[in-house]
């Protein structure tokens, strides 16, 4: 499968989920909480990404996700395993 741009996907979905909020520029290094996205909204974003990419991130990895790059890494791991 071709490489998916997970960063821009996160960007689009985060803006849909956090509609009305003025989110700053999102990079791989961005801390999710520093973007103003709380852990509950993050789960919603992750749910949409999982559906679109047809992957499922193991629950035990979720609490450790701090940056957008962390999300990218676990999604790539899961796609690699698929």
């Amino acid at each position: 499968m071709s490489e998916v741009d997970i960063l821009s996907m996160f960007n689009t979905i985060a803006r849909q989920v956090e509609k009305g909020k003025d989110l700053p520029t999102i990079t791989r290094e961005s801390k999710i909480t520093a973007l103003g996205i709380d852990s509950v909204s993050m789960m919603e974003i992750i749910g949409v990404m999982e559906d679109e990419l047809d992957v499922s991130i193991p629950d035990e990895k979720l609490a450790r996700l701090q940056t957008v790059g962390d999300i990218e890494t676990v999604i790539r791991e899961q796609r690699g395993n698929a």
């Binding site: 509950v40 789960m43 919603e44 035990e60 609490a63 701090q66």
Partner: protein, 289 residues
């Protein structure tokens, strides 16, 4: 680190009278264990006593037991039970909530074998080593969501076990009960309910994952027995909500907003246990010496 006293006051400080209206008579604010494994039809008060009996067994409390420590003792259900039912001659419990502590002191003022203090486990210094340690759904306050994100969960649980170990005698047991985090929902409406529970009812607490507790118990404790009791908690919550509903008028009159907040919270809990977002685990832990 974990829940502060301010957080704990949000969770347990509404009013003792408010909680008394919908908890069991002893005021256990934790999961009961039902003997009827099919329909969970036991009388609720009896099921709460059954929980305390099981955890006493897990902590190996018997006629030989001279002292018991209860970490996070709530309104005092278990410390009173240890003194009056198990006849333990020296029982100590502590809670971080001043309101709860008041209730503990009040209900045990004529029970000389019980003492209770209001303090943080992080500052507790045991005046002696105990024969048994118990902790019923307090470990959920040890790690905050921020700690969990930073990867500090196991380290903080391990420190909690290290302390419990240091407060007990060699060869003794620890009866532990905890709500545990399992599957995480992804749907917006579910997440909105969880957000309410997380921010409004239990700020800065996060339920442990069962595997994290098991990893963290080492090198202080060996897991001798473990039971998962998700449906017992579902039924417990059902009773709490039923009792809350029966007192709707009074609650609305005396504590504006509390009925709505707790009804929503308990309804979310029902869903959480139904769907395996949360479960309940009980452990019998033996000290490693």
């Amino acid at each position: 680190m974990g829940s502060s006293q301010q957080d704990v006051e949000v969770s347990y400080g509404v009013s003792n009278e408010f909680f008394q209206l919908w908890l069991d008579e002893r005021m256990n604010y934790t999961c009961a264990v039902f003997k009827d494994r099919e329909n969970y039809s036991d009388n609720f008060e009896a099921a709460q006593d059954n929980k305390l009996r099981i955890l006493s067994e897990f902590a190996h409390i018997g006629p030989h037991t001279e002292s018991v420590l209860d970490i996070g003792c709530g309104w005092g259900a278990n410390i009173e039970y240890q003194a009056l039912v198990n006849k333990v001659p020296d029982v100590h419990g502590f809670t971080l909530s001043p309101e709860q502590h008041k209730k503990c002191a009040d209900r045990t003022k004529n029970v000389p074998s019980v003492t209770a203090t209001c303090q943080n486990y992080l500052h507790y210094e045991a005046p002696k080593k105990f024969d048994a340690v118990m902790s019923i759904c307090m470990v959920e306050h040890v790690v905050s969501p921020e700690d969990a994100r930073a990867g500090r969960a196991v380290e903080l649980y391990r420190d909690y076990f290290r302390r419990a170990h240091s407060w007990s005698k060699p060869g003794t047991y620890f009866g532990l009960q905890a709500i545990t985090r399992c599957n995480v929902p992804r749907k917006k409406e579910d997440l909105d309910d969880l957000r309410h529970a997380t921010y409004v009812i239990f700020p800065n607490a996060v339920t442990p994952r069962v595997e994290d507790l098991i990893v963290a118990a080492n090198p202080y404790y060996e897991v001798i027995e473990m039971h998962s009791r998700r449906f017992d908690y579902h039924k417990t919550i059902w009773h709490w909500r039923d009792r809350l509903h029966k007192n709707e008028g009074l609650v609305k009159e005396k504590w504006p907003g509390a009925f709505e907040d707790y009804d929503r919270y308990l309804t979310t809990c029902l869903k959480a246990f139904e769907n395996n977002w949360q479960s309940l685990h009980q452990f019998s832990l033996k000290r490693l010496d």
